[in-house]
């Protein structure tokens, strides 16, 4: 009997699955349309499809499922967060709305600021106060708390956030308030700031807290439905959810801290890039994940994705560690339209999975990028998803032709224009992550994945002068593969400001020890074997008087005075490296104590193949077809290869098309694709 670990990534258009056989390291993939009304249906469908595919005598065992979800992200981006209330310190209900009041666009008079997640009349004030030193100046008055509860009960809110001034120093009042509410309404979705982000700066903490509260009902409902669905599968496999920090969490943690899931969808792809980069020895990568509805661009430098201690979504600051990813609303399903000025535009609206592009024949009436690719012969209508969905090319041609006619052009010319504009949008997205950060694309390798990534990657590399493109074997389900290439990861933090010259070593160790106990307990509760638990202790440090810290890793071994000296020493060195100077004579402050708990999972392995002696791809040649190539001035009869038949060591010369069940790679004239030992396509000039 085979045992599998399964990664399931639900995108805007498709639900992807990658399963790894624990013993043979064989990969199995499956792909089915996403079911937007209830994404868990697609989740179950794709699991069933996988089981059908591997079913044999004994039936396979699913050890665990790791899931990447855009449920939280979409709720924020689409403005579909449920109504939330905030309880805060008297006099400060507008902190959430005023924010830091800073504008990013200096010269534009027509900007908007993000709408506060909790509307003003749903922000309740209570007369309580804690000092910055943690002293409780005024406790919670039960009668006043009860009045607030009554107002809450009358109001139509789905969740409640509690964020009091200075609660990072002493969460006592928040705990009291929370217990009072829990006592009266045990099932209420409730987040207190100290639980989710025990750091100072009231606005950023409040923003993170209300975001978490608002996402709780959304994510809980979703996970409960998943759970129910999993009951139908043998052994009720455990589910883990990918988080923004690139590690996974159990469903219980995910329900408690859904704010950690804002990048759950795209994070898998970034981790997969890191994984494949490591296999093939390339450390500077641009991840290009083009799906049906959106495209995510990430950058890996020296083998690691950038993780920042805080991020932003739709203008809301989130003080939680997250991978840096730039997302734009453009993909294969992006709709072409004509604007007021008569210009052709593509996106950001997407036909999504339903109705989908015209060629899906599910009621789509507007030409999309995918329709254009079909018209240009780049996608074979009879081999989409390995023939599972038969695309109607003539329908795409008819409706695109009508739109083209209104513009006085041929369908093919319009289709070519749609692709050109879509590529320009992608190019801009890649530039934001590279060129605009002063990084030169010429120093990077483009890793193309997602359903549409491989079709557009070569053209983009040409536009941006990127010297090499990698199209992984499971290009279309690559994000799902990444879900299996990481560990369980939870971040804990407490702000406690300690000067190095007055440090109470015992107290510091106690803080870290407290967090470590919490981290270990959480992982143990999640069923992680104690032998698989790793703990990383870090401290955010700054010079006394500064306000921004550098995250320094605790030496671990050695303790007490030595550890402190080591931390301080490393801080001076890091300050010098980052900011060109250090001041070893100055006193430093330890500010945030952090502990990351890691529950290691068994690493996956990809099969390494021998290179064939003969580089000719002839055995994989399926046939020839007319495909549109700009650089060749139009349709050109080019060879079509079956990816599954290509062997490591083969070289495919462009112009050519390489097809696999779930994605199509376009190799331009003047380029070649080399199949490496891990079955990646490596496209370079040649």
């Amino acid at each position: 009997m085979s045992a599998f670990r399964v990664g399931i990534d639900i995108g805007g258009t498709f639900t992807d699955l990658v399963a790894v056989d624990q013993t043979s390291n064989e990969l199995v993939t499956a792909k089915l349309p996403t079911t937007p009304a209830d994404p868990t249906i697609g989740f179950v469908n794709v699991l069933n499809r996988f089981l059908e595919r591997v079913e044999n005598g004994n039936g396979p065992e699913i050890v665990m499922v790791v899931h990447g979800t855009t449920t939280a992200t979409n709720a924020v981006l689409e403005g579909k967060l449920p109504p939330v209330a905030l309880i805060t310190t008297k006099g400060f209900r507008d902190v959430l709305e005023i924010g830091r009041r800073l504008r990013k666009d200096l010269y534009n008079l027509f900007i908007d600021k993000p709408k506060a997640i909790v509307e003003r009349r749903m922000r309740f004030e209570i007369d309580e106060r804690t000092g910055h030193d943690g002293s409780v100046l005024k406790g919670i008055d039960a009668a006043e708390a009860d009045e607030i509860f009554q107002s809450l009960a009358r109001a139509d809110v789905s969740a409640v956030a509690i964020c009091f001034l200075n609660s990072y120093a002493n969460p006592g009042n928040e705990i009291d308030m929370k217990q009072l509410l829990k006592g009266k309404a045990p099932d209420l979705f409730l987040t207190s700031s100290y639980e989710i982000c025990r750091e100072f700066r009231e606005y950023e903490r409040a923003s993170t807290t209300v975001m978490n509260a608002a996402l709780m009902p959304v994510v809980s409902r979703y996970i409960d439905r998943l759970h129910e669905a999993m009951n139908k599968f043998r052994g009720r496999p455990n589910i883990f959810i990918m988080q923004s920090n690139g590690g996974v969490a159990t469903v219980e943690s995910a329900k408690e801290s859904p704010v950690n899931l804002l990048l759950s969808g795209p994070a898998g792809g970034v981790i997969a890039c890191r994984y494949v980069g490591k296999l093939v020895g390339r450390t500077n990568l641009i991840g290009f994940d083009m799906g049906g509805t959106s495209t995510d661009v990430s950058v890996i430098i020296d083998g690691n994705p950038n993780v920042s201690m805080e991020g932003e979504i739709a203008g809301y600051p989130i003080k939680r560690p997250m991978i840096e990813i730039n997302t734009i609303g453009a993909g294969g399903g992006s709709v072409a339209w004509i604007d007021h000025g008569g210009s052709l535009r593509v996106g950001p609206r997407s036909a999504g999975a339903d109705p989908g592009p015209i060629c899906y024949d599910k009621g789509g009436k507007e030409p999309t990028v995918t329709d254009a690719n079909v018209i240009l012969g780049r996608i074979d209508p009879d081999y989409f998803l390995g023939g599972e969905i038969r695309l109607r090319k003539e329908a795409a041609e008819k409706l695109t032709g009508e739109m083209a006619k209104s513009m006085g052009m041929e369908a093919v010319v319009l289709a070519e224009g749609i692709i050109r504009i879509a590529n320009a949008n992608m190019e801009r997205a890649i530039k934001v992550s590279s060129v605009e950060k002063g990084l030169d694309p010429r120093d990077f390798t483009l890793v193309a994945f997602g359903g549409a990534g491989a079709l557009h990657a070569n053209t983009l590399a040409e536009m941006l002068d990127i010297p090499a493109v990698i199209v992984p074997e499971v290009s279309s389900e690559f994000s799902a593969l990444g879900l299996l290439a990481t560990d369980i990861r939870h971040d804990h933090v407490i702000t406690r400001i300690v000067r190095s010259d007055r440090a109470d070593i015992a107290e510091m160790e106690e803080i870290h020890a407290g967090l470590e106990t919490k981290a270990r307990r959480q992982l143990a509760d999640e069923g992680v074997d104690p032998g698989n638990i790793k703990v990383i202790k870090t401290v955010d440090i700054r010079y006394v008087g500064q306000a921004y810290e550098i995250n320094i890793q605790h030496p671990g071994a050695g303790s007490g005075e030595n550890a402190l000296q080591r931390l301080v020493h490393d801080f001076h060195a890091a300050h010098k490296r980052l900011y060109a100077y250090s001041a070893p004579e100055k006193i430093v402050e330890l500010v945030n104590f952090r502990v990351t708990g890691i529950g290691t999972m068994n690493p996956i392995g990809l099969k390494k193949c021998e290179l064939t002696a003969d580089s000719s791809p002839a055995p994989a040649l399926k046939r020839k077809r007319f495909v549109y190539f700009n650089e060749l001035g139009g349709f050109h009869e080019c060879p079509i290869y079956e990816r599954g038949l290509l062997l490591s060591g083969h070289i495919v010369k462009g112009p050519a098309v390489i097809e696999q069940a779930d994605s199509t790679t376009l190799v331009l004239a003047g380029y070649q694709a080399f199949i490496d030992q891990y079955k990646n396509l490596l496209i370079t000039r040649g």
Partner: protein, 588 residues
């Protein structure tokens, strides 16, 4: 000559290289900005973000800037040009020189704003200059934070530093450091901020050199020329679309903090072809008190306003300035002669933005807003710490945006030619003897209109330590932010002190008011002006404002003619229609 050869390359810049270099230069300025933020010591820089970083060519022309503060950014070129012309010609700069200055009469802003510049050498020649400007917490002078509202000469405002070499070829000029430290109230924090500024220069210089190493100095120079030409070209093309004509406007400053009389700011804008001439003739002569705007501020306010109105999408650099001509009479509040005091220069500076906006509303009504809060509401409080060391808390509060042609003004948000964050309450309480009791929006403070002006804010805190001195620079306490096209003005600002049950109204420019332990200081900032008649505002929008407690029922009825049931908060559409007809008849 080498320079001439380089400029001939101009036409040959590869468009992709140009785009990469443009973004890389902006990214270097941003990197400098982050360095300064993360290494700084005082809340003025690290929380309020009162600093800027930019990159210049060897002629001192600004090429790229971090998105920080327009008033700084658009004044750094004029200052650098003055330094190059009058003090240190470019040939006299050595590698690792750092030039420092804060003199308002040499292109500076006011004394707390210290500019620093360092050259970027590539192959033994200067390719460009990187610069950083930081508002220092204190530069000495009559009161904490150097914000004396009653000073009459620049000599009372603190230490004035003409352009000097703070470092000569990397060797610190210790005498300058010593004089500097001996004249300021918080040397530790201020030296920390100066170090942050120097770190930003170092980071910027190295990144710039690396960029030049990659593309070659000639290419970078050609790119810089091309970028200036591009911005100028776009600016001129847009100005051509504005109807030719002469557009006038005037507005007033409450007073100069010493003499109780208003000060007129008058402008006449002439749009002709692809150029704009801005003439301040008719503006009041320079004031006794410190509201005077040195020419660097006047230029900066003008450049900011016109870039904003003409086309905010043009990459801002020196090329944007070229189509603009400024006439600022010598000896007036927009171009004072020394030794006139200038620390409160933002009063006139903000009003320059207001009059330009007002004038241009006659030419391009859909590209302007009604008046915003119109002042960096500054307050600085100084006292003596337990260990006998002086402390200074400096902060700035903003108010509501002016309403816009198609939407409301933003509530409490940085507007105009400054751009400052607030200091988190938790941060202030850690560092200073204060306890806050409110930070909230003020209902009804936005000017009524078809689109409503943004709301002002109330910030209140008590002194819990021993007595301290309060100094303020406020404005628009007497002349409210104007509305446009029938919109009502926004609410005026106020500073109050509550001592027990007694409430004292402070003047906008108060110097060294003694706060006692337990006193509450209350800041009430200005709302923005409205745009269009309030009787034309969609009653549903008024209802929503009432539901969110941003507009009261009384204001809904009296200002907007909208009747809402106080209990059910339901709109009475019929009565509203009738009331609006009556009100509109009365108005005529």
């Amino acid at each position: 000559m080498k320079t001439n050869e380089k400029s001939r390359v101009l036409g040959e810049v590869n468009p992709i290289t140009l785009e990469v270099v443009r973004n890389a230069l902006i990214s270097i300025a941003e990197q400098m900005s982050i360095t300064m933020l993360k290494t700084s010591y005082s809340t003025v820089i690290r929380e309020i973000l009162d600093y800027s970083t930019a990159i210049f060519d060897r002629k001192g022309r600004i090429i790229a800037q971090a998105s920080r503060i327009p008033v700084h950014l658009n004044s750094m070129s004029p200052a650098l040009e003055a330094i190059l012309a009058e003090y240190f010609p470019i040939e006299s700069w050595s590698p690792n020189d750092v030039i420092m200055m804060n003199d308002p009469y040499k292109g500076g802003q006011h004394l707390p704003d210290i500019m620093t510049f360092t050259p970027v050498f590539v192959d033994d020649a200067i390719l460009g200059i990187v610069g950083a400007l930081g508002h220092q917490l204190d530069i000495g002078g009559r009161s904490a934070g150097s914000y004396g509202g009653d000073v009459t000469e620049i000599y009372q405002e603190g230490l004035r530093i003409p352009p000097v070499k703070l470092f000569s070829a990397g060797i610190p000029n210790e005498a300058v450091f010593e004089i500097f430290k001996a004249n300021i109230r918080e040397p530790v924090k201020t030296m920390g901020d100066i170090n942050a500024q120097l770190a930003a220069l170092e980071i910027g210089k190295e990144a710039f050199r690396k960029l030049a190493g990659k593309y070659g100095g000639d290419t970078i120079e050609a790119c810089m020329e091309a970028l200036l030409a591009y911005s100028e070209r776009r600016m001129r093309a847009k100005i051509l679309e504005i109807p030719d004509g002469v557009y006038d406007f005037e507005d007033w400053i409450d007073d100069d903090g010493i003499e109780d009389r208003p000060i007129r700011i008058k402008v006449s804008v002439t749009v002709q072809g692809s150029g704009i001439s801005v003439d301040f003739t008719g503006t009041e002569k320079q004031s006794t008190g410190p509201v005077n705007a040195p020419i660097g501020v006047t230029k900066s306010a003008t450049y900011y306003s016109l870039i904003t109105i003409v086309d905010p999408t043009i990459p801002p650099n020196y090329g944007c300035y070229l189509p603009i001509n400024i006439v600022a009479p010598k000896g007036s509040v927009v171009n004072p002669n020394p030794p006139a005091p200038v620390v409160g220069r933002m009063a006139v500076g903000h009003r320059i933005v207001d009059v330009l906006m007002g004038a241009m509303s006659k030419a391009v009504p859909n590209s302007v807003t009604a008046a915003y809060y119109g002042m960096s509401n500054v307050y600085a409080i100084g006292g003596m710490g337990e260990e006998g060391t002086p402390w200074v808390y400096f902060d700035i509060e903003v108010g509501g945006w002016g309403a816009r042609p198609d939407k409301d003004g933003l509530d409490c948000y940085s507007a105009g030619f400054h751009n400052l964050a607030n200091t988190p309450v938790e941060m202030v309480e850690i560092g200073y003897p204060f306890r806050f009791s409110a930070y909230e929006l003020i209902a009804d403070s936005g000017g009524a209109g078809r689109f409503r002006g943004g709301l002002g804010v109330r910030r209140e805190f008590a002194l819990i330590g021993a007595k301290a001195n309060l100094t303020t620079q406020g404005e628009r306490f007497k002349f409210a932010p104007y509305g446009l096209f029938g919109g009502k003005p926004g609410r005026k600002g106020r500073f109050l002190v509550r001592r027990g049950s007694e409430i004292v109204d402070l003047t906008s420019k108060t110097t060294n008011y003694v706060l006692q332990q337990g006193d509450h200081f209350i800041i009430l900032t200005q709302g923005g002006g409205g745009y269009g008649s309030p009787l034309e505002r969609d009653p549903q929008l008024v209802l929503e404002d009432v539901r969110q407690e941003k507009v009261t029922l009384e204001s809904a009825r009296n200002d907007y003619g909208v009747l809402i049931d106080p209990d059910s908060l339901a709109l009475d559409a019929d009565k509203t229609r009738a009331l609006r007809e009556t009100l509109s008849r009365c108005a005529h």
